[in-house]
Symmetry: D2
Subunit: 334 residues, 4 copies
């Protein structure tokens, strides 16, 4: 039984708490949140203790795993402390917006032999995995193009936007990682980014984007397109298309039911797709936790590493450079 | 170039006239209709002559083909005369409602070596054919079940209903024939019919049905289900499903466009399907004519014979017997 | 917290055990099975006790709920005992094959005011529910036809077949209940059944069917079709179609992923659908338990009653009468 | 009746010849091709004359329309001559690769008041039109993104590649035009292009691309993505997606049949989509001709003008500039 400290009792923290609680090998021992009330509510729900301080919970002898689902600016600090305490670490994406801090942290944690897994949950979605596998096992032949459509159902509030690090680092970072996941060994070497302000006045006020498109190119010449929006009224649009010399595979959207309606206006009409990530990636979040638990128990290496988090951030930063200069940017992973 | 006499200038006659006109091996030489005005309009449109009498047109030396698309009660008479004149014959389904008359006519026309093709257009639909082929070539393994959903977009008017011979003989007859087409050598031996009056007051007044379901069984034990309605508000619903030991194949409905709509109410919504048979079976009607022209020119046997028309009528009659007696009826093809 | 006794530790018992274990208001206190080893294994997995006898577990003061997932012949006995002990009862379908025993039991349990819910799990499937709701709320207008396709992925073994009560009572019973669920107040009054032996030599040897079709008619004239097979190689085929004056709604099949494949042979190809009921109705089984727990806690009436189980059995019996007599059978619910 | 001169008796010329022949208001009076044999074959098939020279046919008094479907380098010359002869002109895309020649021609033809329509056939496809209309009538709200996937089934031969003007000018030009068609008044102002050589050795040898991606931005900030490939093994992939504040509409691919196959490997599998443009855009080519005939007869302005051809070429040229400089290029329409 692994004892978990959960950092963060917000929306995503709540979901993780439930998954930890239900997992046969996990015990939620501590919940920490700057908002004591949120921490208390969540701890009570799952028979956990409220941590009076992050440090106390992290360093507790009882603790096996530090599970970080707090605000992004706290991530690096918690990762470092957890590593120093010799705990296994799971950290929600993005690990941090400042590449310098990431580099420093990376250097520091290398001194401690602890597993660190980054929360790129989409890698664990059964449908996206199947598409990745089709590339791996040659089912679609040589990979030539990847097209990712990734759109949120509605823009976040101003408070979130202010600290979210910008559209490319907060949202597209998932798609950068998914692109890397699909490409495998073949590295992305070039990025072009376009951004627009078409939806949210608050985004505009902050100088942030709500609509964006990207093209990337890999070492082998594979072309990757990503498009993002902060508002798809039909739900959380999540599609991944891989195209190669032997065919194409699409991980398409998922409706809540399998009902199709026919009337005098339309036919084969399905329900709106899942509203947002918690519903859409339910299976992925559970399998992500399960994979993490297995690597901790079996002392293996995580499949999604801190370096993966760093590389996705590097792509986001290159995208910003492209947007600002109007140029295609060569990606420097050093 | 084959010279055609078209009997009947109504809705379906008009469609056939156009197809005959556009076919490279056909010439529409005469149009006949009891309504002289209709005949004249159609003849003018395609540079044909108006036949002053059916007899004149049929017996004209110039005439190669008598194409019968007039009201059902006229069919047997026109078939007989055309056969006596040695002309090739195409006759719209159903050939006649009275099995005695059909038997007599069959006896008579056997004296004349002329090709007679019955207008079971659905046999020529590319999708239905593919399903039939899948059964033939073993792609679905041994056939076990057939399910046909066949629904009109709206009930016909009272005038039509009065002379249409009843729902099973006018509408289901297509599905009886399609079932026979799919089964091939394996004969239908048993029929059960259910009818309901749920939609049309006019149907009810005439003692006719507007909703019906059937089960049939073949010699080999294959079970066949047909369901019919006189009103599907989403369009002309035409689905054929074959199920066997190796899988299933469905000939599904067809939208006018390939557009899919996503909004806050529904997703993947397509347009209504084709309104009715003229739109839905456009390709089938053209290929049906083409197949007929080929067998006439090459002096071959039609793939859809007068006997096929008779057998479908026998099934319809058995269905009425089942409905009236509340019993499963053994089919007697003699 | 409700204390459950689980009767039966077979395939479906195992699934129920897990759901009971995970439900926040449930405690699995006893497991009983004639096979002591199975009972012990399951009890160990979920920290339950093994009941040395059914009676002991049922009558234990601790016990709140008797959950019956044992072989069908044991159901009536367990139901009766549980009722006499004043316990809430959940019983897997079918409750019993012999209508006399059902009637007797019904009479007996009426003396005890305990809730009895029958395990017609499909009523709790989100997609089927949506179709039922569309009928209820008028979204499809006046109901005119219902079409249920319900096919197992593979035939059961001989041991199961011998005690399963026949295809109509074991398998179609779900579809009879689903038909009743959709129809609501409107009662089924007439049944016709066709059966065939096309797949399984073991079925044939036992005189059982592996392929079947049904038509039923309701008081209001609604026509219902059911088709069943013991083997659909593409998975557990579960489709429900309701058709009415304003349109149609189909609860279609569900693939494990939302992946679509395109190659030189086919396009838009999805994965096989769920293998069987445990995967396909995962959500339904969980919601069924949850609904049952709520009615027990709130002392309400179950939405799926013992009478529902009896009525489905009456339809199955009428179907057998139709098959044997070759007639449409009037249903007698008395 | 309009008398047509058809310039070019190649693959696309043959298709146009048939459409002209079948159109009730058109007469194919002359066929011209540098390859006399091709011209003769086609002329014989449709009872036309073979033009001994392009000039003779164009300037003939009899000629109403010059329909140009010959090799691209001949287009400007034929347009100019036809304009000077006062004939109505239909010209296949692209009108010419050299923008200087296009500009000069544009200047010249302005002296003659003749209608010139460019063959951007996709504008006339019913599904693409519906998507355009959804943007026009506000059905998808404010337009925010357009995504066009446009892939050929197989690369052309070396001979064609040598004179085709490059991937962006030969193939993407359709997608540039389609983007402009959808945007309407809102002008494309910025272009980024990526190209890859992944498929065809012949393309590589010629320095041409076989895989390409584009992002464009409009005046209003709408983002447009195009992806192209010279080889989709599943057929001619033609998808257009428009995304806006009220939803999304996709013009999806079209199979030859509506058949869906289910076996132990896959479910809902459709046939390969249409092989190539002649099959896929059959309806569009016919309606394109019909629209042209109407504007000629009614002396109206074409909906697809010579300027549209020029603007698409300008976008292709900007794309090449982007590819060569690695920069986002501002489009200059002057």
């Amino acid at each position: 039984m692994l004892n978990f400290v959960l950092m963060g009792a917000g929306r995503i923290g709540k979901m993780h708490a439930q998954n930890i609680f239900l997992h046969p090998n996990c015990n939620l021992s501590f919940v920490y949140d700057v908002n004591q009330e949120s921490a208390t509510d969540l701890a009570n729900k799952y028979n956990s203790k409220v941590a009076s301080s992050a440090e106390e919970a992290i360093s507790s002898k009882e603790t096996d795993v530090v599970f970080i689902a707090s605000a992004t600016p706290t991530h690096i600090n918690f990762i470092t402390k957890a590593a120093q305490s010799g705990k296994a670490i799971f950290c929600e994406k993005p690990s941090e917006f400042d590449i310098e801090k990431v580099n420093q942290c990376l250097k520091e944690v290398k001194n401690y032999d602890v597993p660190i897994q980054i929360g790129f949950n989409r890698r664990f979605d059964n449908s996206h995995r199947k598409v990745k596998l089709a590339k791996e096992n040659g089912e679609i032949g040589e990979l030539e193009m990847v097209i990712i459509s990734s759109r949120d159902p509605e823009p976040p509030g101003l408070d979130y936007l202010k600290v979210a690090g910008g559209f490319f680092r907060d949202t597209t970072i998932h798609d950068f990682d998914l692109s890397r996941f699909i490409l495998g060994e073949d590295q992305i070497v070039e990025v072009t980014a376009y951004g627009s302000q078409l939806i949210s006045q608050e985004c505009k006020d902050l100088g942030d984007h709500d609509t964006a498109m990207f093209i990337m190119k890999s070492q082998k010449g594979v072309l990757i397109h990503i498009n993002n929006s902060r508002r798809a009224v039909y739900g959380y649009d999540q599609r991944v298309e891989v195209f190669g010399s032997k065919g194409m595979m699409i991980s398409n959207n998922q409706s809540v039911t399998s009902v199709e309606k026919f009337d005098d206006k339309s036919t084969y009409a399905k329900d709106p797709i899942h509203f947002f990530f918690i519903e859409r990636y339910d299976q992925a979040y559970k399998d992500q936790l399960d994979a993490f638990v297995k690597i901790v128990i079996n002392k293996e290496k995580p499949s999604v590493t801190f370096e993966d988090g760093r590389n996705a951030l590097i792509l986001a930063n290159a995208a910003y450079e492209s947007f600002e200069t109007g140029k295609s940017v060569r990606v420097d992973y050093k």
